[in-house]
């Protein structure tokens, strides 16, 4: 188990290293790239370029730049430094710290909805395979899988915000509204309800599919037949015996999805104007605000990589067979 974990952690660190190295190459060391010129903006003067080169060390050899770049990304206090935003000269860590609560709010709310919705639809479908319920679940799953996030978001905005509001029923907030939970929890939930539904509906489809197939497989096992044979009620068989062991793949999927949203739900945030990591990174990319882009890529990668490790460890706990391999 320890060995397994060490392996996963090393692999995770390698993944992070590959990502930050690729970002470095893309932004600083790609043939033909001139980061100083990009920073200088429109009014380029040789003196300005020289100043920038000096301040940022762009005139140093590439490997020295790379080393300095790596060094300040290693999370040791006093050394760790994501840099300063080119735009408003705030430290990147501050920008990220401001954005992360929004992503946490997004993730928590939508996760609750998608888990409840996804698993219930999946169980419903698996309990009566090929029934009308099952067919309905299939339609739900296929629509969810085929639906691009931005289309669902736009549809919800159009119907629930725009159409209702122009007819004088302004139930749902305008895009761009956000109230921190500490200010007013009700207002917080109200502002986030549409983004939550968007994310949840899209994601729930996968969970239904996963629950259905996993539960169907478990229900076909011998020990379920034994449980039925000894006279347990169907309800008990399904919920106590089968569902528990069929949830393993769902747990792992959940970890990855949660981490992905935490690292910035780019589309949802863009459509609903939520100033989380996703919106911040899109805006930073538009103006080539490299420190912010790199900082957010790093944070988002960290979430996903960490989630992969946690999920694999969890999987090994839930399913001892994995530990052997």
């Amino acid at each position: 188990m320890t060995r397994f974990l060490i392996r996963r952690i090393i692999l995770g660190l390698v993944t992070l290293w590959v990502i930050i190295t690729l970002v470095f190459i893309l932004y600083y060391a790609r043939p033909g790239v001139d980061p100083a010129r990009e920073l200088a903006g429109r009014a380029v003067t040789p003196a300005l370029l020289a100043n920038i080169n000096k301040a940022y060390g762009f005139n140093l050899p590439v490997y020295v730049q790379y080393w300095n770049y790596l060094k300040r990304l290693v999370p040791i206090p006093g050394q760790f430094n994501l840099g300063i935003s080119n735009n408003n000269h705030l430290p990147v860590t501050t920008i990220i710290a401001q954005a992360v609560p929004i992503d946490i709010s997004l993730a928590v709310g939508s996760a609750v909805i998608w888990m409840v919705l996804g698993i219930s639809v999946g169980v419903l479908a698996a309990r009566r395979p090929r029934s009308l319920w099952d067919r309905g679940a299939t339609v739900f799953v296929l629509t969810g899988v085929s639906m691009p996030t931005f289309i669902l978001g736009l549809l919800l905005l159009y119907v629930l915000y725009y159409l209702l509001t122009i007819h004088g029923i302004a139930i749902f907030p305008k895009p761009g509204s956000y109230t921190p939970i500490t200010t007013n929890p009700l207002e917080w939930a109200h502002d986030l309800i549409l983004p939550w539904i968007t994310l949840a509906l899209i994601t729930a489809a996968t969970y239904s599919r996963l629950t259905r197939s996993s539960l169907l497989e478990v229900l076909g096992e011998d020990y379920i037949r034994t449980a039925r044979a000894k006279g347990l009620s169907e309800r008990r068989v399904v919920y106590r015996h089968a569902l528990r062991s069929s949830l393993t793949p769902i747990v792992t999927q959940f970890g990855i999805d949660l981490a992905t949203v935490l690292g910035g739900a780019i589309i949802t945030e863009s459509i609903f104007g939520l100033p989380g990591l996703g919106l911040a990174v899109v805006q930073a990319i538009e103006v080539q605000n490299l420190p912010v882009v790199i900082g957010i890529v790093l944070v988002a990668s960290f979430f996903v990589v960490a989630a992969n490790i946690v999920v694999d460890a969890l999987y090994a706990v839930l399913d001892p067979r994995v530990r052997v391999s």
Binding site: L11, G12, V14, T15, V18, I19, L22, V23, L26, Y27, R30, T138, L142, V145, S146, M147, P148, T149, F150, I151, L154, L155, L157, Y158, Y162, I202, T203, T206, R209, L210, S213, S214, E217, P249, T252, Q253, I256, D257, T260, V261, G263, G264, A265, I266, I267, S270, I271, V281, V282, I285, Q288, V293, I296, V297, A300, S301, F303, V304, V305, N308
Partner: protein, 325 residues
């Protein structure tokens, strides 16, 4: 066994010979086609796909008939007297015009080309690379497998939407880059499944039999093992097409996919979002076509999976690459 029962006559006429004569064995492909023919959902999705392909191929024809090119603005009074876009059903503009007076129908048709090209080409590249990488990793095992499997793990745990956006922002948006980015982030999903299958096929006795006949590694991999992987690969590839189409639409929606003014369904929606909800027809038509296409491919993929082998459902229930949130 008692060998006193052995008599030479038993060899002459094998009694286990089935009494059927003149029935040609059906190939697995024939069986699949036959099963699909009786599947109404599959037929409808094929019809939809064929219609969209026809729309894409016939795009210049539609442009010629209407007299409006995909990027022509304001020909034939594409806007009304106040410079406002025309609603659907206006003279000469079946689906109306956008705010620049461009024919939405023509742009939809040209957008179908982009979606299909991206979907099919990216899937083809991802499938070929995934199959080759997965086969080599699974068949040879050892250090080659360690390296290839680790690479696939790293690619799979990339925050790929974010990274795709970074890549496109650095290199500028273009059709080939969009295709390559999508292919790069999709091959690992196929490669991992092919690797797993190859790992288990490699242990089968028929592989040993081929080896004992003197078959080389290449022959064993591509003549013996590959046909046994065709079923999962076809299904994965069919399901990858809608994912790639959604990915492209999402990138274009963010302004990072297909560069304007070339129409794609994603950037048409991006344009529409810039205008607002007053002109609903800016939104509804790209949405309908995008959804129809992805839904048709997903339905077909499911139908093909069921037709090929209902038992393979298990393989695909595993973690699958999802679309951007």
């Amino acid at each position: 066994m008692s060998l006193s029962t052995v008599d030479a006559a038993a060899t002459a006429v094998p009694p286990e010979e089935p009494a059927v004569k003149g029935i040609e064995g059906r190939t697995p492909l024939q069986l699949v086609v036959q099963r699909l023919r009786t599947d109404r959902v599959a037929i409808i999705s094929v019809v939809v796909i064929v219609l969209i392909i026809a729309l894409a191929i016939g795009a210049p024809l539609i442009a010629a008939i209407t007299g409006h090119g995909p990027t022509d603005t304001n020909v034939d009074n594409g806007t009304d007297a106040n410079g406002q876009p025309l609603p659907p059903g206006s003279a000469g503009y079946l689906l109306g015009t956008d705010n620049l007076g461009r024919d939405i129908l023509v742009r939809i048709a040209y957008g179908a080309r982009v979606s299909l090209i991206v979907g099919v080409v990216a899937t083809a590249i991802a499938t070929i690379v995934g199959v080759v990488v997965g086969l080599f990793a699974g068949y040879y095992g050892g250090w080659l497998d360690s390296i290839l499997a680790r690479i696939m793990d790293v690619v799979l745990s990339f925050p790929y939407v974010l990274f795709a956006i970074v890549l496109v922002s650095v290199f500028g948006s273009s059709l080939p880059l969009t295709i390559l980015v999508i292919a790069f982030f999709s091959f690992a999903a196929i490669g991992r499944i092919v690797r797993g299958q190859a790992l288990s096929q490699r242990e089968k006795e028929y592989v040993e039999a081929a080896h004992s006949l003197g078959a080389g590694n290449m022959r064993i991999m591509f003549v013996d093992i590959l046909p046994n992987l065709v079923a999962p690969v076809i299904v994965l590839a069919t399901l990858l097409i809608p994912t790639a189409i959604i990915f492209e639409a999402t990138l274009s929606f963010l302004g990072l996919g297909i560069a304007l003014p070339t129409p794609s369904w994603g950037n048409m929606l991006s344009d529409a979002e810039g205008v607002g909800f007053q002109a609903w027809w800016f939104y509804i038509f790209p949405m309908i076509f995008l959804l129809l296409t992805t839904l048709a491919f997903n339905l077909l993929g499911d139908a093909v999976r069921d037709a090929l082998d209902p038992r393979t459902e298990r393989i695909f229930a595993a973690r699958r690459k999802k679309k951007p949130a």
